[in-house]
Symmetry: C2
Subunit: 206 residues, 2 copies
DNA sequence: AGCGATATTTTGACACTGTCAAGATTGATT
DNA sequence: AATCAATCTTGACAGTGTCAAAATATCGCT
């Protein structure tokens, strides 16, 4: 039997696929101690390679972080698409409310990753990967698309521009996530009530 | 004439009031290059003292940052109080709208400081000073107070709980600041329209 | 099977960071 | 003038990201 890389059990040569291992371990470390607790050296150590080994799979620490953020975007994108597929005309409000709820919960469960997705670490300090930028834009497009739908169905309170509405609604969502994640002015226990309040602000009062 | 510290021209001994100089220079450095660009060593260097001199005035880098953040809170607190004093019963909507606008502008003009006020640097990595915590809480109380007022005057769309309304409105404000500051999904040129959209979501449609 | 090319990893090094401990300097107070 | 406390400096340590050069392992080809 030829011993290709595809056999996962094969403990072959240098390490196997360091790339995936690094990504996984880094995600774990971040989720536990935040982005700041992740150092390239500790990561390498924990995976069992030398300090500079990771640099052959990720050009930068920045690129590594971008990769992790990207996975976050994939997750929320999937969430949104799932929410939109189960539309039953009359319960659109419920679907939307449910989505907001789940979204914020998700952002909280993976708070550190969420911070990475929208935080300054990447978007101001670092330089977002082309790939990350695309995925981020794509996600907002999906969101905008939904808002347009809700607007057409006369469910959401849209002003002059649907784009502006989408931006503001998104800001509300995002603001809630941040406040809850950082524990500023709110606690997790307020989640449900706050979501209800937020949604009733965004949607038309039936 | 006795040579007290108050003469600013006097190039007297140890430095004069390092505390203030450090605070000022640190604020400047942050506003230019972000929190990350501020290192205690560079700061000391730029002020003209040795590396560890600042540590006799600020226990930590963290404490320094807290002091800067605190000044930010003082500023927004003042802004809010000013806005509330000029209430003419019928133009409350205008006052509120104006405030939101000014607030976001302010947050943008001092974006790095704003990030410090609400960012993870202090609130998750570091440990907020007692003093900072108080001022932060105080500011939210002022905000809540205003929302309660608007709610009583039947201007704002309040649900079951005014507290929740205040939290959500604040989240919207905060979310907008962050998106604009970080340039995510929006640009500064959208400001006015977005504020209008946001306010019309928060207030009752007259 | 063997050999060279290529992919992968390591060691050494550098400049930078925050901050502690110990010593030196200065101003005020008695 | 002498003492004391405030203030500042020097030296040191562990930790960081990342580059350059060397070492090693695997693959493709003859």
């Amino acid at each position: 039997m030829k011993q290709t890389d595809s056999t996962p059990t094969s403990r072959h040569y240098h390490h196997g696929d360091l790339y995936q291992s690094l990504l996984l371990m880094a995600t774990e470390m971040i989720s536990e101690g935040g982005t700041e607790s992740l150092s390239m050296r500790k990561l390498a150590d924990r995976v069992g390679v030398s300090r500079t080994a990771p640099y052959h799979h990720f050009k930068d620490k920045n690129v590594l972080l971008c990769a992790i953020a990207e996975q976050g975007f994939e997750r929320v994108e999937k969430l949104l698409l799932e929410a939109r597929t189960e539309e039953e005309p009359e319960s659109l409000r419920r679907v939307f409310t449910q989505y907001v709820h789940t979204y914020i919960e998700l952002a909280h469960r993976h708070r550190e990753q969420y911070d990475l997705m929208f935080g300054r670490e990447i978007w101001r300090n670092g330089t977002p990967t082309e790939s990350l930028q695309n995925r981020s834009r794509q996600h907002f497009k999906s969101w905008l698309n939904w808002i347009e739908d809700l607007s057409n169905q006369n469910i959401i309170l849209s002003g002059d521009s649907t784009l502006r509405t989408a931006q503001v609604c998104w800001a509300t969502l995002h603001g809630l996530c941040r406040l809850l994640n950082d524990g500023i002015y709110t606690e997790q226990s307020h989640l449900k009530e706050m979501v209800d309040t937020a949604v009733s602000m965004m949607l038309k009062h039936s």
